[in-house]
C-alpha cells in the first residue's frame, strides 16, 4: 500500500508538473514583452460576468499608459457573478466589479460591497445614467430589451409589424410572440419590467393575461427563443422557427448583419421601439480591494472614450459617454429608443421576487 502510494504520488507530481508547466506556458504569453517595467504587484483584477469583452489592443494601451497589468475574471451570468461578490464581501477576488445592472443595483448597494469613488471623467457621462449619488457605482453602458420582428414575415403577410406593448395584444398578432422565462432569463425579466413600467404595479397582470389569451409562448432562455423559435434570426430560420416576434435586444438587428454570411445590405429583423426596457450596467470599486489605486484607474478607463467606443462591437451595448461615437453598423442598422420603460431600482429590488412568482403562476403554469 505504502509503495503504491509513493508511485502514485510520483505519478501525480509528474502529471501536475506537466500541466503546471503548460499552464505556465499559457501564462507566459499573457505577459506582453516590453509592456512596461512595472513590478508584478501592479496587477489590477476586474471581476465580471461572461459577456464582458474588450479588444486586446485597447486593453494593452491602458496597460501601457497606466503601468498596470489587467487580469479579467469571469464567473457566470450577471446574477451569479454579483451574488458571488456579495458572498465574498470584504475579501473580494478582485479590485473592480463590472456588470451590475439596474435590476440588481439595489441588491448590490444594500449589501455594501462597493467603496464610493467618483471617477475621473464622470462629467462626460450622460447625467440620467448616474443613478447612485454616492458614486458607489459608475455607469458604463446601456442597452434596450425590446421585441424584435421578422421583416420578411410581415412584408409577406402585408401586416404592419407591431410597435408598442398595446399592439401585442391585438388579434392580428395572435400566436406570433415568443418570450423568455422571467424567472431564469434577463431579457425575460426585462420584458416583464417593461410591462410593469407601462401599466403600473396593478395593471401588468391584466396585460399579461391578455398576452396569454393572444397566444404568447414562453421558453426558458434567450438562446432558445432567438435561435430556435424566432423566424427572423439565422439560427431560427434553420430550425424552422415560426414565431415572427421575439423578446431580444435593440442591438440584435445590427448583430444579425454583422454575423450574416454574407453580410446582408439590410437587417432581416426590426425593433418595436415601444416595447423596450432600458438596462444600465455599472462598475464599482470593491470594498477590501488589494489594489485600490489600480482599481480607480481601471474605473476611469471604463468610461474613457477609448473603451466606450470599443464597447458597442464587443458587447453590443450603447456607450454612456457623451462624446463616444457609435460605430457605423449601429448608426446604419440600429434604432434609437426614444422612450424606454423604466422602473426604479429600489422598486425592482423590493418586488422582483413576488412579481416573478406572480408572473410564473399566471403565464407558465
Amino acid at each position: 500500500m505504502s509503495t503504491t502510494k509513493k508511485i502514485a504520488g510520483a505519478a501525480l507530481a509528474a502529471a501536475l508538473g506537466v500541466t503546471t508547466l503548460s499552464a505556465c506556458g499559457g501564462a507566459a504569453e499573457d505577459k506582453t514583452a516590453g509592456a512596461s517595467d512595472a513590478p508584478k504587484s501592479k496587477t489590477v483584477t476586474l471581476v465580471s460576468h461572461d459577456s464582458f469583452n474588450v479588444t486586446d489592443a485597447v486593453l494593452k494601451q491602458f496597460e501601457q499608459e497606466s503601468g498596470y497589468t489587467v487580469k479579467v475574471l469571469k464567473s457566470g451570468d450577471a446574477g451569479a457573478a454579483l451574488n458571488q461578490e456579495i458572498l465574498t464581501k470584504g475579501s473580494p477576488r478582485g479590485d473592480v466589479f463590472f456588470g451590475v445592472d439596474n435590476t440588481l443595483l439595489s441588491r448590490a448597494l444594500d449589501n455594501g460591497i462597493f467603496t464610493p469613488y467618483e471617477a475621473k471623467g464622470l462629467d462626460g457621462v450622460k447625467p440620467e445614467y448616474v443613478l447612485d449619488k454616492e458614486h458607489r457605482v459608475t455607469p458604463i453602458d446601456s442597452g434596450d430589451i425590446c421585441v424584435n420582428y421578422d421583416k420578411a414575415y410581415f412584408a409577406d403577410k402585408k401586416i404592419a409589424p407591431p410597435q408598442t406593448l398595446d399592439d401585442l395584444i391585438k388579434p392580428e398578432y395572435k400566436n406570433l410572440l415568443v418570450v423568455e422565462n422571467a424567472a431564469t432569463s434577463s431579457p425575460g425579466l426585462g420584458f416583464l419590467l417593461a410591462s410593469v413600467g407601462k401599466y403600473g404595479e396593478d395593471g401588468w397582470k391584466d396585460y399579461w393575461s391578455k398576452l396569454k389569451d393572444n397566444g404568447v409562448e414562453v421558453v426558458d432562455g434567450w438562446e432558445q427563443a432567438y435561435n430556435e423559435r424566432f423566424s427572423g434570426s439565422a439560427g431560427g430560420k434553420k430550425a424552422k422557427g415560426d414565431r415572427p416576434l421575439v423578446v431580444s435586444y435593440a442591438s440584435s438587428p445590427p448583430v444579425e448583419v454583422l454575423y450574416g454570411e454574407p453580410q446582408p445590405a439590410e437587417a432581416p429583423t426590426g425593433v418595436a421601439t415601444g416595447t423596450c426596457f432600458r438596462q444600465i450596467e455599472f462598475a464599482g470599486l470593491l470594498k477590501g480591494a488589494k489594489n485600490e489605486e489600480g482599481g480607480k484607474a481601471l474605473v476611469d478607463f471604463l468610461i474613457s472614450k477609448k473603451f466606450q467606443e470599443d464597447m458597442p462591437l464587443q458587447m453590443f451595448v450603447n456607450p454612456v459617454a457623451k462624446d463616444a461615437a457609435l460605430p457605423e453598423l449601429f448608426t446604419k442598422h440600429g434604432v434609437v429608443v426614444e422612450k424606454p420603460e423604466n422602473v426604479a431600482p429600489e422598486t425592482i429590488a423590493k418586488n422582483r421576487e413576488q412579481w416573478v412568482k406572480a408572473w410564473t403562476a399566471l403565464v407558465v403554469k
Partner: protein, 538 residues
C-alpha cells in the same frame, strides 16, 4: 486512504458544509425550523416529486435500452466496434447546451420527427427522458459491458453441460456475476438524472424543474441561502438513501469472479437470433445517438449557399468583427485538453487509492467512506462552487482565482466514476493469487504489478476515459468558477450560442462538432493504450 480523505474533506465536505452553514445558521444558532417551512411549500413539493419520478423513469428506460447494447459490445466481434464504442461515449461529454439544441432539432417543431411523423415532443417529459437515455447509454455499456467481456464463458458452458437451460444459466450464472456492475451502473444513471440540470432546463421548458435547477436558482439567482441549504440537505438525504439501498443489495453479491482476457470471450455473431440482436442494437445506436450528433455536424457545415468549411475557418480568428473572446475559439480546445489532463490525473490518483483502500478493508467505516465518495455526484455544482468561494479564500489556500480549481472541481465528479469502475474488478481479483505471488517471493509491489495490474488495467483505462470525458464536457462548475479568460470548449459553445447571428450559431455547431471529435479521438486513444508489461509505471 488518507489522501482521498484529505482531498474530499478539503475540496468537498468543508466548502459544502460552509455554504450550508451560511444558510442554516444565524446569530441565534441553527435554524432547523427552516426545513419545515421550505418543505411545506407546494412548489418545492412539486419539484421533489418530479425530480424523483423522472429519475426513476430515466433509469429504467436507460437499462432497458442499453443492456442489450452492453451484451453486444461485450460478446460480439464486428467491424467498427472500437469506433462505435467511442461514439456512444461521446454524448456523455457533450455540454447540455449542445444536446438540448440537437434534441430540439429532432423533436421540436419543424424537427425531423415533426416533418416525418407530425409529432412534437419538445417541452414534454419524453424529450427529457430520451435525452437522459442518450446521455447515459454509455454508462451502462461501459460499466456492465466492461465486466461482461471478462466473464469466463466456460462457467456458462459448464452450466449448460450440466443441464441448465439457456434462461436458467443466465439467471443463475451470468446475472449474479453481473449484478454488482448493473447495480453500479443503475446507481450512476439514477444519480445523474436525479441531479439533471441542463437537459431539464432546455428541453423541459419552464414548466419542469428539478431539485438541481431549484438549488441553482435559489443560490445563484436569488441568493436565498436558507432555502438552498435546505434543498441541498434534502439532496444529501436522498442520495444517502439511494446509496444505502445500493449497499444493501450488492453487499452479499460481490464474489471473486474468474476474469479472463476480453479477447477470448468475443466472437462473430452466429445464427439469425444473434444477428438480429446485433442489428437491433446498431439501429438503436443509430437512431438514438448518431442521429442527434449527426444533426449538429450537418448544421456545422450548412453554410449559406450549400455546404462548406466556412464556420470552421471563422473559428480561427479572434475578434473578427468583434469576436466573443480575447482568444480565438480554437484555443478553447487546448484549454479544455489541459484541464482534462489535470482532472484525469487527480481523479485517477484519488479514485485509485480510494478503490484499493476499499478493496482491502471491510467494516462500517469503509462503507461510509465508499458512500461519501459518491456524494459529489448528487450535489449541485453551484453549491460546491459557491462553497469554494467562502472557504478557499485564505493563503496558502486562496485558490479562488487559480486555474487548478477547475480540474479539482471536475475531478470531484470524476472520482466516483473511477471508484465505481475499478471496484468491481478489484474486488473480483482473487486474493489467493496475491498470496501465491508473495509465497513465491514477490514483493507487495511486484505482486501488485504482476497480479492486479494486468487484470485491472482495462478498468483503469475505462475509468481514465470517464474522468477525461467528464472533464471535457463539464459545464456547471466551470461556469461558476471564476477563471482568467481561458474558456473551455463547452463554455465557448455556450457563449457563441448566447449571441445573435448566423456566423455565431454556425461556429457554435462547428465547435460542438470539434468537441465531439476531440472526445472520440481521446477515447479511442485510451482504448488502444496498452502499457508495456515490463514497466511498472503508468
Amino acid at each position: 486512504m488518507a489522501l482521498p480523505l484529505a482531498f474530499f474533506g478539503l475540496f468537498f465536505a468543508y466548502p459544502v458544509a460552509a455554504i450550508v452553514g451560511r444558510g442554516l445558521k444565524t446569530d441565534d444558532g441553527w435554524q432547523f425550523g427552516r426545513f419545515g417551512e421550505v418543505l411545506a411549500r407546494p412548489d418545492i413539493a412539486d419539484v421533489l416529486w418530479f425530480t424523483t419520478w423522472q429519475a426513476l423513469a430515466s433509469t429504467v428506460l436507460t437499462l432497458l435500452i442499453a443492456l442489450p447494447g452492453a451484451y453486444v459490445f461485450a460478446r460480439f466481434e464486428f467491424p467498427g466496434k472500437q469506433l462505435l464504442r467511442a461514439v456512444v461515449t461521446v454524448p456523455f461529454v457533450l455540454p447540455t447546451v449542445v444536446v438540448g439544441t440537437a434534441f430540439l432539432a429532432l423533436l421540436g417543431r419543424g424537427g425531423l420527427l415533426d416533418e416525418r411523423v407530425g409529432v412534437r415532443l419538445d417541452t414534454t417529459v419524453w424529450a427529457i427522458l430520451l435525452a437522459h437515455v442518450f446521455f447515459n447509454y454509455a454508462v451502462v455499456v461501459r460499466t456492465v459491458g466492461g465486466l461482461w467481456a471478462q466473464l469466463d464463458p466456460r462457467q456458462e458452458e459448464a452450466a449448460r453441460v450440466l443441464g441448465a437451460g439457456r434462461f436458467a444459466t443466465w439467471r443463475r450464472v451470468t446475472l449474479p456475476a453481473l449484478a454488482p456492475s448493473v447495480a453500479a451502473a443503475s446507481l450512476m444513471v439514477f444519480l445523474f438524472t436525479f441531479s439533471s440540470f441542463g437537459v431539464v432546463l432546455i428541453l423541459g421548458g419552464p414548466a419542469y424543474s428539478t431539485l438541481e435547477v431549484e438549488v441553482y436558482r435559489q443560490t445563484a439567482q436569488l441568493l436565498d441561502l436558507p432555502t438552498a441549504a435546505v434543498l441541498t440537505m434534502v439532496q444529501f438525504a436522498a442520495i444517502g438513501g439511494i446509496l444505502a439501498v445500493h449497499a444493501w443489495t450488492v453487499r452479499k453479491r460481490e464474489t471473486a469472479l474468474r476474469l479472463v482476457d476480453p479477447g477470448r470471450t468475443t466472437h462473430r455473431p452466429r445464427g439469425w437470433a444473434q444477428r438480429t440482436l446485433l442489428g437491433g442494437v446498431l439501429l438503436t445506436v443509430a437512431l438514438l445517438i448518431v442521429l442527434p450528433l449527426g444533426v449538429l455536424v450537418e448544421r456545422s457545415f450548412d453554410v449559406p449557399g450549400g455546404y462548406g468549411f466556412g464556420f470552421y475557418r471563422a473559428l480561427q480568428d479572434a475578434g473578427a468583427g468583434g469576436g466573443t473572446f480575447l482568444v480565438p475559439p480554437v484555443e478553447a480546445i487546448w484549454n479544455s485538453l489541459q484541464y482534462a489532463l489535470a482532472a484525469t490525473a487527480i481523479a485517477l490518483l484519488i479514485g485509485g487509492l480510494a478503490a484499493s483502500a476499499l478493496t482491502r478493508r471491510g467494516g462500517r467505516f469503509v462503507r461510509g467512506f465508499d458512500a461519501m465518495l459518491m456524494l459529489p455526484l448528487g450535489v449541485s455544482a453551484v453549491t460546491v462552487g459557491f462553497g469554494f468561494l467562502i472557504t478557499l479564500d485564505e493563503p496558502p489556500l486562496d485558490l479562488r482565482t487559480s486555474w487548478i480549481l477547475v480540474p479539482l472541481a471536475q475531478a470531484l465528479v470524476g472520482v466516483p466514476f473511477v471508484v465505481r469502475t475499478m471496484l468491481p474488478v478489484l474486488r473480483a481479483v482473487d486474493g489467493r493469487l496475491r498470496e501465491a505471488a508473495a509465497v513465491l517471493g514477490a514483493s507487495p509491489l511486484r505482486a501488485w504489478r504482476e497480479v492486479d495490474l494486468p487484470l485491472v488495467r482495462r478498468a483503469l483505462l475505462i475509468a481514465a476515459g470517464f474522468a477525461f470525458a467528464i472533464s471535457l464536457g463539464e459545464f456547471g462548475a466551470t461556469v461558476f468558477i471564476a477563471r482568467a479568460d481561458q474558456p473551455t470548449l463547452p463554455v465557448a459553445v455556450a457563449r457563441l450560442l448566447g449571441r445573435a447571428g448566423e456566423l455565431n450559431y454556425g461556429q457554435a455547431m462547428a465547435l460542438s462538432t470539434i468537441l465531439m471529435l476531440v472526445c472520440a479521438v481521446s477515447l479511442l486513444v485510451l482504448e488502444r493504450l496498452r502499457p508495456d508489461k515490463t514497466s511498472g509505471e503508468f
